[in-house]
Amino acid sequence: MTSVLFMMWLRQLKRYWRSKPRMIGSLGQPLLFLLALGFGFGPIFEKAGGGSYIQFIAPGIIAMSILFSAMFSGIEVIWDRQFGFLKETLVAPVPRWKIMLGRVLGGASVACMQGLIVFAVCLLIGFRPTDLAGIPLSFVFMFLIAMFFTALGTAIASLLEDMQAFPLIMNFLVMPVFFLSGALFPIEGLSGIIKTVTLLDPLSYGVDGLRASLTGISHIGLVADFLVMLVLTLVTLAVGARIFSRIQI
């Protein structure tokens, strides 16, 4: 029965691998942010005493690429519904939560790969992890960010049947989640409301954990980051699996 999870996962990886434009296209936005902000705001950030800005935002941009890829991978549910393949998986004698989990694992793996490519680009333009031992830990955080947001995207897509609505709703969610996450600015210096909002944003914990493991700088604390991401991921998976199980065609 594990083979069902594996097949769902493999299918998504194959689809990703066969779609080179998708692979390249989804790098555009993170690169733009990295270059425009990194080199544009960098000098100001440094003058204000924040240290190297590239060093600061690289984990944020890696998280961003994972966020985007993960959330939008939910569209594959709608895609499969449109092109009929969803029915093939729904009539199979397999518990639906397995189908959902397989999909999420696949989508999250693709998102992680996307994150690794951005990571490599960051290294090319001068990002340096301070502690090599932190790199495996950063992979854990990449995976958690990917799992959480893929599960969320898949759950939302399971509720929708409308291809056009999905990207609109996603943009509406993804942008605030990204901008209010501390990916681009330190949470520490924030005042009142904005700080509260930032701490309500799940991505803040992912970014903080990623940054802590790669550069040693954390505003929230590694353990808290990990626990929050883990619990959120498990809850979203459970709720998402329920929603997915209820799909009728």
Binding site: M7, R15, F83, F85, E88, L90, P93, I249
Partner: protein, 265 residues
Amino acid sequence: MNLSPIIEVKDLVRKFNSFVAVDSVSFEVNRGEIFAFLGPNGAGKTTTIKMLTTLLDPTSGIIRVNGFDSSEKDEIRSSFGIVFQDPSLDDELTAYENMEFHGALYGVEKAELVPKIDSLLVLVDLHARRNDLVKTFSGGMKRRLEIARALIHAPQILFLDEPTIGLDPQTRNHMWNYVKNLNQSRGMTVFFTTHYMEEAERVSGRVAVIDRGKIITVGTPQEIRESTSSGSLEEAFLKLTGHSIREEEASAAEGMRMQRRMWGR
């Protein structure tokens, strides 16, 4: 040999808001029979198939498939294979990968799966194209692949929802010969819908005619011809369901479906 009907449907109702797509339908399909479900557009054929195959919950009524109650979804799901009205293949995978995927979903052992896929692909004449992406296939090839795929797990019931739409007569013939052969050699029950009356007349043991969500008649093609004193099943069908074109009913049903789609239910 179990003699009880393999499909039992009693007072089955499915509503979409106020629209009644299936209106207290009852019928039985016997083990090993080829059963045709006929009706004009929007008559409720596909909705019925969806309920029989666990894709849609009935509003009310009783369904038993292969002895299992409609709540025993996994048991029902392993009992049948289905070819849907619209394609349900993954275009981005190859023919072989689609088959392999299906085998994994239905828990077919790997050692058994590979030769099975090969022989089924030979049978539907797609073996030479097994490593090509499905998106390069024509409509007829996709259909053939879907039929082959539905047979991987050796189901006891095969559902075919308008299986021959868009197929040329050669392929259609080929497909029916194969399905009939399986029906005879393995006792596989076949439940299919079609618009081609001559096809229903030629292959099916019994026929049900459904219109506006209600079953009008059930019987062998000969019984139906005789009871309506018609020369052909087509003539009988038109006598039973009328000559008017069902665009309006179809679009009303479609409208309801759209509404459901929009609200996700």
